[in-house]
């Protein structure tokens, strides 16, 4: 018996992103088409200023697209209320929490907001979800600390725990590996991979860590001046996409070892 085909969680069609003001429309990237299925880990890569953050802001509903369609779990995004969207997509942003005085437990528990009553009181089910998020991200020892006491790596784990507590099929992260040391970069990306494999989450993240991402992700969305490519890392390598990513007199891509190399 053939296994059921996995659900499409995010479908993006002919998306044109940028900023709209009364006077003008400033398009940053256009003709973006891709889709993410259940259990897929997908990286968005590309140079600074190409529109990775704008794409993430658009897909998470923080910013309206200029044109094109975004479908979340088979419902058009424009038809989803903020509350309905909050039970589909959770986010980890580059900005630090506004208050540094929040305790780790409180921060993670805020992820339960779409499910708690009008006063935000945690039910037993909420507490269980928070506990699971804490266990998976190995933040048990941090739970009574305040945010200003955390290292960058610890804070990133806590923010991911908050997204997990929100219990959404989709998690979207904006540069989750920036400011982290090599170990923590690998730790965070491996954690994301595990969440996709074990829990069937669909995770979309932007990153500059192409090297580590290549070996872990299912698919990559490459944003470049010349155009947009979306495929598995192996296929992208065969198409020679990575060779044109950086100026070849500085960085080369070796298709056999799937690694970038700095030219001497």
């Amino acid at each position: 018996m053939a296994s059921e085909t996995p659900h499409t969680r995010i479908a993006i069609q002919d998306l044109n992103i940028g900023f709209t003001s009364k006077k003008e429309q400033k398009s940053i990237a256009k003709n973006i088409t891709f889709s993410c299925k259940e259990g897929e880990l997908i990286a968005i890569i590309g140079p600074n200023g190409i529109g990775k953050s704008t794409l993430i802001r658009t897909v998470t509903g923080m910013q309206k697209p200029i044109s094109g369609r975004i479908t979340i779990s088979e419902v058009a995004m424009s038809d989803l209320s903020p509350h309905a969207l909050a039970s589909q997509i959770s986010v980890v942003l580059t900005e630090a929490p506004a208050s540094k005085n929040v305790t780790v437990y409180e921060l993670i528990a805020l992820g339960r907001q779409p499910y708690t009553n009008w006063l935000g009181v945690l039910s037993q089910a909420d507490k269980d979800a928070v506990s699971r998020a804490i266990t998976i991200t190995e933040t048990t020892a941090l739970q009574h600390k305040k945010c200003f006491e955390l290292s960058d790596g610890e804070l990133q784990r806590v923010l991911i725990a908050r997204a997990l507590a929100q219990d959404t099929p989709i998690i979207i992260l904006d540069e989750p590996t920036s400011h982290l040391d090599l170990y923590h970069k690998a730790y965070v990306l491996k954690l994301l991979q595990r969440l996709c494999k074990e829990q069937g989450k669909t995770i979309l993240f932007s990153t500059h860590e192409i090297g580590i991402a290549l070996s872990l992700v299912d698919k990559m969305l490459v944003l470049q001046e010349g155009g947009i490519s979306f495929d598995t890392p192996t296929c992208l390598a065969q198409q020679g996409i990575f060779n044109t990513l950086f100026p070849s007199n500085t960085i080369d891509f070796d298709t056999d070892t799937m690694q970038f190399r700095v030219n001497n």
């Binding site: 506004a98 992820g111 907001q113």
Partner: protein, 344 residues
């Protein structure tokens, strides 16, 4: 597995006990010495041994204590709300320009009588006109701030606009002062000293109503306030309607700060200092716990400041606004020196 939140019942209970103590101390001390036993008897039976004590207790000290509780608690709540909404540890109820609005209303009434004469002079005769002028001033600034909030998304910009309102108001008050006579100036300056005493029971009833309405709105927005601790984008991603909730939060602040300034005059530092003091005692950012905690803490602080302002057993009374500043500013400095930074 022990993933749990600590309980905050004990510190809240302690604060409630301290509030009750502060009330008793505040009512017992004053220019006329009334034995503590008589004060207790008066509180529970409604009469004391002397009719003059009865008069002092029920027409002066108890109304003043109630005003202190509502004003201290209310200002502390609005301070907490403003610090969270504006993501700024230095925010307080006054940064929105609410007290500036009230000052302008009062200045126009008292000082404007000299400059324009006529209708202002007639209005001045009514003891309620000061309260109405202050409330109108606060309310107009509130409307302006709300209009700005709907247009400008950036909370930092709203903060700056609030400060600008303050500057313009101070300038207008300055111009009015220049054209006023000594008597009018003195009347305005006395209002700006702030006063918890001399409130009518009707006034207190209005103040308490505003206090309860403000407290209830604040509690009802506590879930949104908690979400805002992570910043607007995170709050939005958790399904929060930022504009609507910000509007409610500013409304609560305005009702509280506006009514208090109208009745008791501008009272500085309580709104700014109390939330920080409370965070030293109760280690949580959950507004559902912080709101009752700052209410009690604000009440305690203003009761204590009022007790000091009375200079027990002397005939003198210091302006309450001066005492709160003298107590509040060192508290903020002490917190900064000890913690090296103010967090909200």
């Amino acid at each position: 597995m022990t993933h749990h939140q600590p309980s905050y019942k004990k510190p809240l209970l302690l604060l409630a006990l301290l509030t009750i103590m502060a009330i008793f101390i505040n009512i017992s001390l004053g220019s006329v010495s009334i034995p503590f036993k008589e004060v207790i008897a008066g509180l529970f039976t409604g009469t004391t041994n002397k009719t003059s004590w009865d008069y002092i207790l029920f027409n002066y000290r108890i109304p003043k204590a109630i005003t202190a509780i509502a004003a201290g608690g209310g200002l502390a709540i609005s301070g907490l709300l403003m610090q969270t909404v504006f993501r700024n540890p230095l925010a307080g109820p006054f940064v929105l320009g609410l007290s500036s609005g009230a000052s302008l209303g009062v200045a126009l009434l008292i000082l404007g009588a000299g400059a324009f004469g006529g209708i202002f002079g007639i209005l001045l005769g009514n003891s309620w006109s000061l309260v109405i002028a202050a409330a109108l001033g606060s309310f107009l600034v509130l409307l302006a701030v709300l209009a700005v909030t709907l247009k400008v998304k950036d909370t930092m910009a709203i903060l700056i606009i609030g400060l600008m309102f303050g500057s313009v108001t101070a300038a207008v008050v300055g111009v009015l002062s220049y054209f006023s006579n000594a008597e009018q100036l003195q009347q305005y300056i006395f209002w700006s000293f702030g006063s918890l005493g001399d409130q009518s029971w009707t006034g207190i009833a209005i103040l308490i109503t505003c206090f309860i309405v403000g407290l209830v709105i604040a509690l009802a927005t506590s879930k949104s306030l908690n979400a805002l601790l992570l910043g607007e984008n995170y709050a939005k991603s958790m399904g929060l309607n930022i504009k609507k909730q910000t509007l409610f939060i500013i409304l609560a602040t305005s009702i509280l700060a506006g009514s208090i300034t109208a009745f008791a005059g501008p009272i500085a530092f309580v709104g700014l200092a109390v939330p920080h003091l409370t965070r030293q005692i109760i280690k949580t950012s959950n507004h559902l716990i912080l709101i009752p905690a700052v209410t009690l803490m604000g009440a305690i602080l203003l009761l204590v400041c009022d007790t000091i302002a009375q200079i027990p057993f002397s005939e003198y009374t210091l302006p309450i606004n001066a005492v709160t500043s003298m107590v509040g500013a060192p508290v903020v400095i002490w917190l900064l020196v000890r913690k090296r930074k103010l967090l909200f």
